[in-house]
């Protein structure tokens, strides 16, 4: 049975000339799990918000949508469409979890007894009972997003819309969230329409993939067909699962049914192949230590437990060191100690032979997790001019100009930072830190909220900067990103660096905390690799029968 359908939807924002959506048609059946994807600016969020009438954007709408056979955008919006948004923090309205869960039901005028029963049932099922009395500001990102989901589910939606709900979560929380959705869909028949770019795990649970490109529907297919059709797309090919991309790279003959979309299918496919691998040679660079941390201790207050304990770390000139570790192991704290935002209670930090205390500010630049907070001025160009004025740079104007064109931001230089997309904002803030001409660049969680293509662009920029001699220390959850761009990786555990190794050794030695490509290639005839690029460079894949 059809639950939602759209006929010839076009939409134009006020004061804009090009429409955000053009003649989009689609339909969703009851109980389906549909994933909608597209590059940034493809109109996917606009389309999703148009379905939820209460928050539909203002503008020129043409065409009709039908929900359960009734046209949408009449006087009363349907009561049983729920939506969860991207940012876990901003959706929260109340101060503590219980009030937050009640908020929607109070809006709809439920009685106390009903509310108690529903909250009891839901928190029990989703395992949130222990959070009920907590303040919402104390929850982790993953917990916040679960609370948001449950507070929507409490209103008994028949159709659940999700707008990039895992973009701001760490990989483990994201995986859990997606599994919860899959469970809702499978066990309770919840119809789900989800906009997302983290597709690695999503293709396996989705029934259909809807792709938007520049406001138009590009395709509406089952996942494997979608993979086959997207393989040459300049942007969206990077969104595809690693197994599929590996398969597509080596198989000339593509039959959609055979395309692997999970790690397991990828490994099974690889086992049917004979892989000649070149011996992967490691080039050990022996450059001198540039930044040294020696026996650092840090705790926020005297009576709280230490965050960093007896931590020592060496960073070499011109390398990109990735610091990985679970939530709460002190990754961000470590970065702040290096940046001089926090002062260690014990131990010393030496940059290029000088103690940081003696260094002037400006030796270190810091690219924060939330790049929007980097900006103080109204426009990018005003911010950059302010920086070169403060740092008294010669040829500052020319340098700004060069970097703007190199970063692909020239057209955006007069924009307000708040009006940029996530990827643009991240690049714009990176440009600012480069203008500060630092000895070391510190980056906190750079891939949060970025789609795979923006990640790639950003990673390539970092690679270029590193080749020009910039030393970069990056803290991240993103195993794939670290594997692709870091030269060495450190694991932080219980306030100390448990191991620092070259990126390749680091991930190959890990069994669980490693990249998808490593999981696919392990225990096959191929030499294990950690990234797609490494496989492409080193593997020669043949059919098994012909070689043996």
């Amino acid at each position: 049975m059809e639950i939602l359908s759209a006929k010839n939807i076009s939409f134009t924002y006020p004061l804009e000339e090009t429409p955000a959506l053009r003649n989009v048609d689609f339909h969703i059946h009851k109980g389906e799990f549909v994933v909608m994807c597209g590059a940034s600016g493809s109109g996917k969020s606009t389309l999703l918000h148009l379905i939820k009438q209460e928050i539909a954007p203002h503008g020129q709408l043409a065409g009709t949508m039908f929900y359960k056979g009734e046209p949408l955008h009449n006087e009363t919006p349907p009561q049983d469409i729920g939506i969860v948004f991207q940012d876990p923090e901003n959706q929260i309205v109340m101060e503590n979890v219980m009030e937050e869960l009640l908020f929607g039901m109070e809006n709809k005028g439920y009685r106390t007894a009903v509310m108690r029963k529903k909250v009891a049932e839901m928190t029990h099922y989703f395992g949130l009972s222990h959070l009920l009395n907590k303040r919402t500001s104390e929850l982790s990102g993953g917990e916040k997003q679960m609370v948001n989901l449950v507070s929507v589910l409490l209103l008994d939606p028949d159709l659940l819309l999700l707008d990039e709900p895992t973009a701001q979560l760490d990989p483990i929380a994201a995986k859990e969230f997606i599994q919860t959705l899959a469970q809702l869909n499978r066990e309770f028949g919840m119809t789900i329409l989800m906009v997302e770019h983290r597709l690695e795990e999503l293709f396996a649970v989705a029934d259909r993939v809807l792709v938007l490109d520049q406001g138009m529907k590009k395709m509406d297919e089952q996942p494997r067909e979608a993979v086959a059709m997207l393989q040459d797309h300049p942007v969206l090919q990077y969104f595809l699962p690693s197994s599929s991309r590996l398969f597509l790279h080596y198989e000339s003959e593509v039959i959609p049914e055979n395309i692997p979309i999970t790690v397991r299918e990828g490994r099974d496919w690889l086992r049917t192949k004979h892989v000649d691998s070149r011996e992967i040679s490691q080039i050990e660079e022996h450059s001198a230590p540039y930044l040294t941390l020696n026996e650092i201790d840090f705790q926020y207050k005297r009576n709280t437990s230490p965050i960093l304990h007896n931590l020592s770390l060496t960073v070499k000139k011109g390398e990109l060191l990735a610091i990985l570790g679970a939530n709460g192991t002190g990754k961000s704290t470590l970065l702040k100690v290096i940046a001089g935002i926090l002062r260690q209670q014990h131990g010393k930090i030496v940059i290029n032979g000088e103690k940081t205390k003696k260094l002037e500010s400006g030796a270190v630049s810091y690219l924060p997790q939330n790049p929007a907070l980097y900006f103080l001025e109204d426009t990018l160009i005003a911010e950059y001019k302010q920086i070169i004025k403060k740092h008294k740079q010669e040829n500052g104007e020319a340098q700004i100009h060069n970097l703007l064109s190199k970063f692909g931001l020239t057209a955006l230089k007069d924009r307000h930072p708040a009006d940029l997309s996530g990827g643009e904002l991240q690049k714009a803030a990176l440009l600012g830190t480069i203008l500060e001409n630092p000895a070391i660049l510190l980056i906190d969680e750079p891939t949060k909220g970025l789609d795979p293509f923006s990640k790639r662009m950003f990673g390539d920029l970092l690679g270029d900067l590193r080749n020009q001699g910039l030393t970069i220390v990056m803290v991240t959850h993103d195993v794939e990103f670290a594997a692709n761009y870091a030269t060495r990786c450190s694991m932080l555990f219980q306030g100390d660096v448990s191991i620092t190794e070259s990126t390749s050794d680091f991930f190959k030695a890990n069994t669980y905390y490693t990249t998808v490509m490593n999981r696919i290639s392990r225990k096959t005839s191929a030499t294990p690799v950690i990234t797609m690029e490494e496989a492409k460079d080193n593997w020669h894949v043949q059919k098994k029968s012909s070689s043996s």
């Binding site: 939820k52 209460e54 928050i55 009561q79 729920g82 939506i83 948004f85 991207q86 940012d87 923090e89 901003n90 959706q91 929260i92 309205v93 109340m94 101060e95 503590n96 009030e99 009640l102 908020f103 929607g104 039901m105 109070e106 809006n107 709809k108 005028g109 439920y110 009685r111 106390t112 509310m115 303040r135 919402t136 500001s137 948001n148 507070s151 929507v152 209103l155 702040k336 940046a339 001089g340 935002i341 500010s361 400006g362 270190v364 630049s365 810091y366 924060p368 939330n370 929007a372 907070l373 980097y374 900006f375 103080l376 920086i387 403060k390 708040a418 500060e436």
Partner: protein, 296 residues
């Protein structure tokens, strides 16, 4: 504080209780009444948290009290009994008593507010408020929810900008003020943009479409009815005592003796009974737990 102490009473009942207590302090202008009042409130404080909360307010309370105790006799010269001369100015007994009474009234009211803040915590206050004006309460709840978020964002801005060389703790006064305002400005711009999502999440969950209902987090219980009755009776008696001027010490034209007559004693007992309510409710629990622990 245990689950069955003063906090187990309905917040609205407790709010009324403290309103009555504060009115009591303003009306009962008699040194003995006031001292008994302050004594009971100190006792309450001790039972609540061994006086920890009180300590943080002590400085302010004592300064204000001292300020009044010293200044009132200096400026107030009305009265019939000259105590002594200070720099050729007469210091009147009436003025000294007046000063003591004002100081105790002030201390009493502040103490009442301290324990009010402990019993009617933020969420309880907003709960009562929601009954009076849902829109104001919701607005306050939103703002209360935003404060930790904004503070954290502001701290992040300060940290990030510190690395960039903008600081509110270093540099000239002008620079510090300017940087501080720039940070607030960045906070304003960012937070306004982000708040759109908060608003959308409210609308998406049905806000503004119909009359809201209220989750009764604090249902009225039998003990609340008894407490209400108790507060009303003792409160009315207290006001009656004031009306008869039994709980007021007259200073002018003739200074009344501070010794209490029989009827006045009765009203003092009533006042003490009213004040003893939280002491009784908390003390009972403390005793019960001690007994309970001994038994095991």
């Amino acid at each position: 504080m245990s689950l069955r102490g003063v906090r187990s009473f309905h917040p609205a009942v407790m709010l009324l209780y403290y309103v009555v207590i504060i009115i009591g302090f303003m009306l009962s202008q008699h040194p003995i009444f006031l001292m008994v009042g302050v004594g009971f409130l100190l006792c309450t404080q001790f039972l609540f948290d061994k006086g920890r909360q009180l300590k943080s307010w002590l400085g302010m309370i004592l300064t204000l009290a001292a300020f009044i105790l010293i200044l009132t006799p200096i400026f107030n010269r009305r009265g019939n009994h000259i105590l002594f001369y200070l720099f050729e100015n007469q210091v009147m007994l009436e003025a000294v008593i007046q000063g003591i009474m004002i100081a105790f009234t002030l201390v009493g009211i502040l103490l009442a507010f301290i324990s009010l803040n402990q019993i009617i915590t933020q969420d309880r206050f907003l709960y009562i408020f929601a009954r009076i004006s849902p829109q104001w309460a919701l607005l306050s709840m939103l703002a209360v929810r935003f404060v930790p978020l904004l503070k954290r964002r502001l701290m992040e801005i300060e940290e990030i900008q510190k690395v960039r060389g903008f600081s509110v703790t270093k540099g000239s006064l002008k620079e510090r003020v300017k940087n501080g305002m720039l940070f607030l400005q960045a906070l304003l711009t960012g937070s306004l943009e982000q708040s759109i999502q908060t608003a959308d999440s409210m609308s998406a969950r049905g806000y503004g479409q119909q009359k809201r209902s209220h989750y009764q987090a604090f249902p009225m219980k039998k003990q609340d009815a008894y407490a209400l009755l108790f507060i009303l009776i003792t409160g009315c008696l207290m006001i009656f005592g004031w009306w008869l001027e039994d709980s007021v010490l007259s200073l002018l034209p003739v200074l009344e003796t501070t010794k209490l007559e029989q009827r006045e004693c009765l009203f003092l007992a009533n006042w003490a009974l009213l004040l003893a309510f939280p002491v009784w409710a908390e003390g009972k629990e403390v005793a019960k737990w001690k007994y309970y622990l001994q038994k095991i």
